[in-house]
């Protein structure tokens, strides 16, 4: 077999693995979504659910599925997509699997702003999202500015991000504790992320953000792959490095902030999605779509487990937190073992 053929076969095999991986993830997402709509106190058969979706009036199911379960599903899927894309974009841009917006404190900043707006100032969903976005971007700018200069900016960025995140979490805890109407579900949402009590009308900002920002990130992600090779190679390939990077960072921060303003900072989804996606579809190819699918699957799966896996219903963030942190520890140990500097 000649060299060129070998390369071509390898490429075909990788492309096939990627297609199969994406198809499998999409199928899993559909199954999970069906589960989200069918399961609950009352279990509705699939044809009832379909009839509700196409607008027919089904006694009982119309309310339960239409008013309760569809918003929950939409919020979970959208937040998962947003967190997944935001996380994988950060990880690729900063060339570090640990540098996702939830590890380095950006979602904590957005969460602090959201809780301030909703619980203390009683602003509307749109104003809350705007404030969360502003504070999230501000947090990112502060972390980036503080970490800038000298060598090993990456490591310093993560360390500083953890510190800023701790500060923002203190704010969230304080505001949640002081909220006049102390409410467990409110507290859980802003501390770990939860889909409980999501209403369809609160989803507007997140839906619009997803529709606008996801295509932008997908177009730019061609450049993202070049950035993965390092700034110099990317410039040589004709990518305008600074512009692409700034645009991508802003889009990723925005996605994370919009999602946080709606569901709270669902722990570790942004951190987990990229690496899991890479495991499933293999390296090479844009990480955006696989990471988005993995993010959505993670949130829905964790929410199903949280709702039905135990005697008590746990919010989604508690489940992803318990699953995600050991993976972070595993990643730390493995990276250190290899002696790799990332």
């Amino acid at each position: 077999m000649s060299g060129a053929t070998a390369v071509r076969t390898g490429r075909t095999r990788r492309a096939r693995r990627r297609r199969i991986g994406i198809a499998a993830l999409a199928a899993l997402l559909v199954v999970l979504a069906a589960g989200m709509l069918m399961l609950g106190k009352t279990v509705y058969p699939i044809d009832d659910v379909v009839r509700v979706i196409i607008g027919q009036d089904v006694p009982g199911a119309s309310f339960t599925v239409g008013t309760l379960r569809i918003p929950r599903l939409a919020a979970g899927a959208l937040a998962g997509i947003a967190f997944g894309i935001a996380g994988s974009t950060f990880q690729t841009l900063l060339r570090n699997p640990l540098a996702s917006p939830d590890v380095i404190g950006i979602t904590s900043g957005a969460s602090a702003a959201a809780v301030l707006s909703l619980v203390v100032l009683h602003w509307s969903a749109a104003a809350t999202t705007a404030l969360a976005l502003a504070v999230g971007i501000l947090t990112a700018v502060v972390i980036y500015a503080a970490a800038r200069g000298g060598e090993s900016t990456g490591g310093r960025l993560i360390l500083i991000g953890i510190g800023v995140g701790a500060m923002m979490n203190a704010v969230v805890q304080f505001l949640v504790q002081r909220a006049a109407e102390w409410d467990v579900s409110v507290a859980m949402r802003w501390l770990t992320g939860s889909l409980n009590g999501v209403r369809l009308e609160d989803l507007g900002p997140l839906a619009i953000a997803a529709v606008v920002l996801v295509p932008i990130v997908m177009v730019l992600s061609r450049d993202l792959r070049a950035l993965e090779l390092g700034d110099a190679s990317a410039t040589a390939l004709g990518v305008r490095v600074d512009r692409a990077r700034v645009l991508l960072i802003v889009a990723a921060v925005a996605l994370a902030c919009f999602a946080t303003a709606t569901t709270g900072p669902i722990a570790f989804v942004a951190f987990l999605s990229g690496p899991i996606a890479a495991r499933i579809v293999g390296a090479g190819g844009s990480p955006v779509i696989p990471a988005a699918l993995v993010g959505a699957c993670l949130v829905l799966l964790a929410d199903l487990v949280g709702q039905f896996g135990f005697d008590t219903a746990f919010p989604v963030g508690v489940i992803t937190g318990i699953v995600g942190a050991p993976y972070l520890i595993f990643l730390l140990i493995r990276t250190s073992r290899l002696g790799g500097s990332s």
């Binding site: 090993s152 510190g163 467990v184 972070l328």
Partner: protein, 344 residues
């Protein structure tokens, strides 16, 4: 001769450091007694203190306010000193500038054990909280340190911080998982979750104070051994230090100091991180100077933070733990900027 001069200069700085620390503690205690929802005069402070010492109940309102503030001031002094000492010890034995009880997960480990005790075993005394907090804090610190020190380079700042963040995140999820089905425990715990000295009373202080004093004495006795550790394990061994024993004893004392505070005051982060660094800037690298002065500085910091929280938050209060988080995060940023860091 030069070394003699340098030594004189250092000991002069140490004396200044001690003097400054004592003055700061005095200021902290005074403002803590004087300010709050109601500002009292010096005369009223005197009256309140006199009533406290002679065992009377204070008569007029100002003196009553002072009497109310005495226990929490005492707890702030003890807790601040213990936390700063704990941070100093952990930084010394790990040779790591960002070691802090909060970052090493001691607080969350303590929280998880306390919550499990409340939820599963119906424990509610300060004494049982103390034991649980000690066990949980020690366990979490060991896990974080082990995870953070795997691989080349040992426990680098960033690996330690990430290990701490990861363990903290998973433990807090477990805390939520234990608490959510139990509304009563949740309500009790939510006030414990934000660290502060507002709930101070003499019976709980009496339980933790002896423990803190013993641990502090152990730490002071180990100070010169820790100086040798700073030179590296091999050199320290060459100087005749029992490296393993020194480190184990110091670590145990450090965890006891922090966990004891966590048991009565809840998690208060960043005091242990900030104070030893500030002190080191003033008095240089000698642990025999850093540790005692850090204790003074921590006491001053926490009393002042507690007072600020009461003044800003009036008529309620903002817990000291939130004030220290706000002061501490920028300090962490500054340390991260100064430290030359290998990326992971």
């Amino acid at each position: 001769m030069t070394s003699a001069t340098a030594r004189t200069r250092r000991s002069a700085r140490t004396i200044w450091g001690v003097a400054g620390g004592v003055v700061l503690v005095a200021v902290g205690v005074t403002v803590s007694l004087a300010f709050g929802s109601r500002v009292v005069s010096i005369a009223e402070i005197g009256e309140g203190l006199r009533a406290f010492v002679s065992g009377d109940t204070a008569q007029e309102i100002g003196a009553i306010a002072v009497a109310e503030r005495i226990p929490r001031t005492a707890l702030s002094v003890i807790a601040g000193a213990a936390l700063a000492l704990s941070g100093g010890v952990m930084q010394a034995i790990t040779r790591n500038p960002i070691a802090d009880p909060g970052i090493l997960g001691v607080n969350t480990g303590a929280a998880l054990f306390v919550v499990c005790g409340m939820a599963f075993f119906g424990m509610s005394s300060v004494f049982s909280y103390l034991g649980l907090a000690l066990a949980g804090g020690a366990l979490a610190a060991v896990v974080v340190y082990l995870v953070g020190s795997v691989g080349a380079g040992g426990a680098t700042p960033i690996k330690l911080a990430l290990a701490g963040a990861a363990v903290t995140a998973s433990l807090s999820s477990l805390v939520s998982a234990v608490l959510l089905p139990r509304a009563a425990a949740m309500n009790e715990f939510r006030f414990w979750q934000v660290g502060g000295t507002g709930g101070a009373d003499w019976s709980s202080i009496a339980i933790v104070a002896p423990l803190i004093v013993v641990a502090a004495i152990v730490v002071f006795c180990l100070a010169s051994g820790m100086n040798s550790l700073a030179l590296g394990d091999d050199v320290a061994r060459g100087l005749g230090v029992h490296v393993g024993r020194t480190r184990a004893l110091a670590a145990a004392a450090g965890v006891v100091l922090c966990a004891a505070v966590t048991a009565v005051a809840g998690p208060i982060a960043f005091v242990g991180l900030m104070v030893p660094h500030a002190v080191r800037l003033v008095v240089g690298p000698d642990q025999r100077a850093i540790l005692p002065i850090s204790a003074l500085g921590g006491a001053a910091l926490l009393t002042i933070a507690d007072t600020i929280g009461r003044v800003i938050g009036s008529p309620g209060e903002i817990e000291a733990g939130i004030i220290t988080a706000f002061v501490g995060a920028p300090v962490l940023v500054a340390i991260a900027r100064r430290t030359r860091m290998r990326a992971l």
